[in-house]
């Protein structure tokens, strides 16, 4: 069984064109996210990092998500429980791409983990981005907790959790469905599954019997949708519709987003460009040309400029200090209740 992105039709409200200014902004962020991942892969290949994992191929979904959430700290803003393919979301929130390179190079200046964690393992308490951890799907057991805290009367903040299709085999996905949909205790949570049709090396059909992952929300009474995440207009409208529903109705929504995996699972599988996958950025650039929003020449120039900018940044990062051995003892225990408001 194949669930190709092309089988998900673009119709109705998803076909609405986005305003030219928004398209330019989306394109800039998608391009930056893609070039950042490609820079991180190059850093890995050149020995400036031990492992790469990321989200090239998910930008048409991940960038709109970052632009559409209510960014901020605390329950009145949106919580993000992301997996390790979320660079586009972080850049859209306003993260500095150089910081991703610092984490790749495991420098002492890496603001996400001070050289402790893999690339794309983001955290940003100032924006409610919960720490990304390597085990797949655990975030689906944790996310209902922040959503539960957002059931307070008058609270407009919601919780968003993302992960991959293969991870839905874990019990944590069932946990998320059960805890989010209890009658009278429904949670304001947007449960997103990005479906790239692979679990590391295992194709979709090898681990799924269900036609659509989003169908799994139906017995729980959830609103559900499957959208083409390779089409930025569709993804933007689909994510916005889901966020608006959760924010207004204070109920869960299960959104399956069909995406591509353009460089394989991680550096463990080579991190080589996969030619036969649908490339959301190339598709969007063709559309921008058709709509005469940007010309090929302008986009090529922009690509060259950002590529050079990231190359130079990676060279600077290479010279930044590595953590000291004694720093393993830092942050074993918290001395302040930061999440409780202590500064």
């Amino acid at each position: 069984m194949t669930i190709g992105a092309s089988t998900v039709k673009k119709q109705g409200p998803d076909a609405r064109e986005l305003a030219p200014e928004l398209c330019v902004r989306l394109h800039d962020l998608m391009l930056r996210a893609r070039l950042l991942e490609e820079r991180l892969i190059t850093m890995y290949r050149q020995g400036d990092g031990y492992f790469w994992i990321g989200g090239p191929g998910e930008e048409a979904f991940s960038v709109p998500l970052g632009l559409l959430v209510d960014k901020g700290q605390g329950i009145h803003h949106d919580y993000l429980h992301l997996h390790y393919r979320a660079s586009g979301t972080l850049l859209a929130l306003g993260a500095d791409p150089v910081d991703s390179m610092r984490q790749m190079k495991n420098t002492a200046t890496d603001p996400y983990s001070r050289g402790r964690n893999f690339a794309s393992h983001y955290t940003a308490r100032k924006w409610n981005v919960a720490p990304v951890s390597s085990p797949i799907e655990v975030q689906y057991s944790i996310a209902p907790g922040t959503a539960m805290a957002q059931r307070k009367p008058g609270c407009k903040g919601i919780t968003v959790v993302t992960g991959g299709d293969a991870g839905t085999a874990e019990g944590d996905f069932a946990t998320c469905l059960v805890w989010s949909s209890r009658k009278g205790s429904e949670l304001p949570i947007l449960i997103i599954v990005t479906n790239n049709q692979y679990g590391i090396s295992t194709p979709y059909a090898g681990q799924h019997g269900e036609a659509r992952i989003s169908d799994r929300g139906k017995p729980f009474g959830m609103e559900t949708a499957t959208i083409d995440g390779n089409d930025v207009e569709t993804a933007y409208h689909g994510v916005k519709r889901a966020i608006d529903y959760v924010r207004t109705e204070r109920k869960p929504y299960l959104l399956e987003v069909m995406v591509s995996r353009l460089y394989g699972h991680s550096s463990a599988s080579g991190a080589n460009f996969v030619k036969d996958e649908d490339d959301c950025l190339a598709r969007f650039e063709r559309r921008l040309e058709e709509r005469k929003i940007l010309t090929r020449a302008v986009m090529d120039e922009q690509r060259a400029k950002i590529t050079q900018e990231f190359l130079e940044a990676s060279k600077r990062v290479r010279e930044e200090p590595q953590p000291e051995p004694h720093q393993i003892w830092e942050h074993v225990f918290a001395t302040k209740n930061l999440v409780g408001g202590e500064a």
Binding site: S133, S141, P144, T146, A149, R182, V332, T335, V339
Partner: protein, 355 residues
């Protein structure tokens, strides 16, 4: 005098009414049951969760990240084993994100044998728990310490695991160990805070909480439960009263054992252990988790490395048999875990050991 389960309940009441506890939850934790052992009866913020241990721990982490103050329960620690990678996340979050977030939650769970609980209601968790860095682990041996450790756990900015020795939950405090604010009359206390059994009485009944004062047992501080000069017994939880009883019997034979109630397994009070061992020169660790890769082995390793020349006898561990479970029959359970008689024999042998 309050029982340990009443003391825990009163600590949780203080927690939710004064210390910011927002959610006390787990399987059967809310009404009507109020916990398998009644530790959460009549609490305003107690609620029943789905029967999903991973969900319980995950949601507690999420609530904590969102600034709430959860106290979650795994009904028996035997059912916490499928939560271990979430426990790891609770323990490693602050470190992994280099201090960006902290995870202030309390997880409580009944542990150990002593209620004829058979294979899946008799497990210990201290060896597993102390293998998960980033957690503070406490285990009381009496109601007053249970009250004080729970209050300390609630105000701590880290994940704290509160191991409840289930065999002691219904044991009353000894004279002189009254909770601050607890009424003098035990029957009155029961009337005030224990839900009546009969449904008719229950319908019109409301708890009357005593005017309790806060009392904090610092995490990381052991207590000398019995001073002595011949042998140091390092123990915690259910084995403390058994070690005390064994020591009292041995006193008649001229053996003077010091019983150190660790109270906190991590961080543990190395200063107290060192001081005691330097005084007695003989050390016995007692706990009921299985003996291979046992927390007591760590204590003994450190004693051996750092206090080797202080020792007059081999440092000794008395722990649970390394068998897959605790059998139901009396003979099987007693053969699997330390008993007063085994503790007494071990102390006696150490005291009489000649180099």
């Amino acid at each position: 005098m309050a029982t340990m389960v009443q003391a825990i309940r009163m600590a949780l009441h203080v927690g939710e009414s004064r210390l910011g506890v927002t959610d006390i939850f787990g399987e059967d934790v809310g009404p009507p049951l109020g916990g398998a052992f009644t530790a959460t009866q009549n609490l305003d913020t107690a609620w029943n969760s789905p029967l999903d241990e991973r969900g319980i721990v995950g949601v507690a982490i999420g609530l904590a990240l969102a600034g709430a103050k959860p106290v979650c329960e795994i009904q028996f620690c035997d059912y916490a084993f499928n939560t271990i990678d979430l426990l790891k996340i609770a323990g490693n979050t602050h470190w992994a994100c280099a201090g960006d977030w902290n995870v202030p939650l309390v997880m409580m769970t009944p542990v150990g044998a002593g209620i004829r609980g058979s294979i899946y209601h008799s497990h210990s968790f201290d060896a597993q728990a102390t293998r998960i860095p980033g957690w503070k682990i406490v285990m009381p041996s009496n109601p007053l310490d249970a009250y004080g450790l729970m209050l300390s756990a609630i105000v701590d900015p880290n994940p704290v695991m509160f191991l409840k020795p289930k065999a002691l939950l219904r044991v009353k405090a000894k004279a002189g160990e009254r909770l601050p604010g607890e009424p003098d009359d035990d029957k009155l206390l029961a009337k005030m805070i224990d839900t009546p059994v009969s449904p008719a009485e229950r319908a019109k009944w409301k708890p009357q909480w005593p005017e309790l004062q806060e009392h904090y047992v610092p995490i990381g501080k052991a207590k000398v439960a019995r001073p002595g000069s011949h042998v140091t017994v390092v123990t915690y939880g259910r084995n403390v009263p058994m070690a005390l009883a064994a020591a009292d019997e041995l006193a008649a034979e001229g053996v003077d054992a010091e019983i150190l109630d660790l109270r906190s397994l991590h961080p543990y009070d190395w200063d107290a252990i060192r001081e005691s061992v330097k005084k007695t020169h003989r050390v016995l660790c007692v706990n009921e988790d299985t003996e291979v890769t046992n927390f007591g082995e760590h204590i003994l390793r450190r004693v051996t490395e750092e206090l080797f020349y202080e020792l007059y006898a081999p440092p000794t561990l008395l722990a649970g048999a390394h068998v897959p479970g605790i059998g139901l029959a009396d003979a099987l359970e007693h053969a699997s875990v330390p008993t007063k008689e085994k503790i007494r024999a071990a102390i006696s042998e150490l005291a009489r050991h000649e180099p």
